[in-house]
Amino acid sequence: MPKTTIGKSLFLDGELTGKDGLIIKGKLNGNIKVEGSILVEKDAIVKADIHANNVKISGEVKGNISSTGNVHYMEDSTVTGDTKTSRILIEDGATIKGSVHINI
């Protein structure tokens, strides 16, 4: 489990980088570049390009996602943007608008 958590009431505007994973419960605008995994929780709103290893989304994301591992769009997720990954799992109910590139 990643130790870095962006809480529900938080609003971040800027660039987030690092080697660790992330859990986002709040709002974030900008850019995310991490080497760990990212979990965007149900009520979170992320307007950012995401570069990470594993990406799991249950909230709302506007931006391009590029992953070196797995991408998992859960049933409550809303994603607007392109996805680049080697493995993807899209659950029933997920809302997606954008192109998907697998195996790059």
């Binding site: 990643p2 130790k3 870095t4 958590t5 962006i6 809480g7 529900k8 009431s9 938080l10 609003f11 971040l12 505007d13 800027g14 660039e15 987030l16 980088t17 690092g18 080697k19 660790d20 992330l22 709040g26 900008g30 991490v34």
Partner: protein, 132 residues
């Protein structure tokens, strides 16, 4: 209980750095790097490994790491012995522990009273002027 407490805490871990504006209504713990603006209506803790270059608004602030920037606190500011800070502090209560490094100006509630007495003195001058 512990889980509930954890839900309302935001943490920036050691290997994470953030550049920009962070605004929130909950406790924040920073062990990583942060540059920009940091505002919370709750408590802020900067851990030993934390490096913050930001203007800060919070209730209580506990500093064990490095901070460059001005602090506006409504509660207590505590700088621990491992803490280093450059910047101004505006707070009601300030504790700087032995071993801490600090450079800056401190403004407490008491000092604002001093200011108000200073404001009275120019009035006396104006009276003198009228006599002349």
């Amino acid at each position: 209980m512990n889980k509930k407490v954890q839900e309302n805490i935001t943490t920036l871990h050691k290997d994470i750095s953030f550049n920009g504006k962070l605004v929130g209504d909950e406790d924040i713990i920073i062990s990583g790097r942060l540059e920009g603006v940091l505002q919370t209506s709750q408590n802020l803790t900067i851990e030993k490994s934390g490096i913050v270059k930001a203007d800060i608004k919070s209730i209580n602030l506990v500093l064990s790491g490095t901070l460059v920037g001005n602090v506006n606190s409504k509660g207590t500011v505590i700088i621990n012995k491992s803490g280093r800070m450059v910047g101004d502090i505006k707070s009601d209560k300030i504790i700087i522990n032995a071993g801490a490094q600090y450079k800056g100006t401190i403004l407490t509630k008491g000092s604002s009273k001093v200011r108000s007495t200073q404001k009275i003195s120019p009035k006396k001058n104006s009276r003198l002027k009228t006599k002349r």
